[in-house]
Amino acid sequence: MTGTREPCQAFNQETSMVASEKAIKEANWAGQIPLKLVLASDENASLDTPSPLYALAFRLGYLPTVAAQALEFFQDVLPPGTDSPWFEYKRIPLPWQVPVGVLYDLLASDHEQPWPLTVHFRAFPDVLLRWDGDSTLRAAYFNSLKEAAYIFQGSALTREVMNMALQAQNDLWNAVTAGDAEQYASVCRSLRMVPKARGERRPSVPLRLYIRQNHGGYMGSLDSATLYTSRPVEIFSETGALRTLREVLKDLLSVLCTNAEATSSEGGNASSSEHPDTLDGESAEGEEEGKGKLVEAVSSSEEKPKEGIASLHGKDLLEIPNYG
């Protein structure tokens, strides 16, 4: 990795924890991944093979923000139809809602650069969350932000996110797509995204975790190749000390990995039974009997649910057209 020397130097100075944190953030924001975009061969309506497009994508950004550039580049050779951009790597459709850096770190073999991706504009695959145009990504981002706000401080802060002035929202979104750490920080300062205890809820931070779980072999989707979770994580341990990322990951990994083993083979690890992640099936059964017909079982078919859905967004807030 380049451009990450400064944080190391900063650690040498006793008083520079804040400074080093800033440097790490800046390096994170500045990180870009070179992409080599090749148009899907069945979407080339011309006789020649178009040359690939080389582009840079911010690690903290999203693939659809590169799509506009790709569309402009490949537009002339596309067959007639509506443009719904999506990307694949080694035949794995890449979810548009996952930051580019996360996808790269999860999937790219041997840190290859540029990262060779195939870009499509037709036949949007079912395995990805539904794409309803550029507003989809922004809406998903703000929805995530709302969930984060809820985890930090409850619905009061969620309301603040919803009530953000349109200008502030635009500034925030532009900062994300343009990799502008400073502008992002200046908008976020007004949101006070800090953990706070409320009622019985202990102060927590939102955490999203992707774990590559197999190497080599056929991967049908990112889903089958990774373990994923997104959840609130308490910041204090039982003793009242601040938990480190290491401690949190250790706890979380033991749960996630045990669950994964348990679903693929019988038995699993004995320690899993004492973890709250195991749901109490009995109480659910009890309630079912109590309420009789009110409860309807929904079968857990193997069939992939048709994802997408639901505009989960506020039209006032996000100016999203109703597509329904």
Binding site: P95, Q97, L129, F142, N143, K146, E147, A149, Y150, S155, T158, R159, V161, M162, R208, D223, Y228, T229, S230, R231, P232, T258, N259, A262, T263, G268, S273, P276, D277, T278, L279, G281, S283, A284, E287, E288, K291, K293, L294, V295, E296, A297, V298, S300, P305, K306, E307, G308, I309, A310, S311, L312, H313, G314, K315, D316, L317, L318, N322, G324
Partner: protein, 91 residues
Amino acid sequence: MSDSKNNQVIIFLRATGDAPILRQQKVKISANEKFSKIVEVLRTKTKSEQVFVYLKESFCPSLDEKISVLYEAYGSEGRLTVNYANAPAWG
């Protein structure tokens, strides 16, 4: 750990705004399903392609998230309450 088939969560579907109130407001869904499954169920039940879904009357979680995790984080009294609306209710 029990067989995943027995591992189910009760979802309480609560109508918001003008959304139709369902005859069956509770459904049982496998804890291993994703949140998108609930949205799919609501779409079928409300006979509408467009449904807005919220937890805690404030946000919609990642559609990729497992119901077990959401139940653990946001459930209470043995169930997970999901609000649904046919127009944006909480942004």
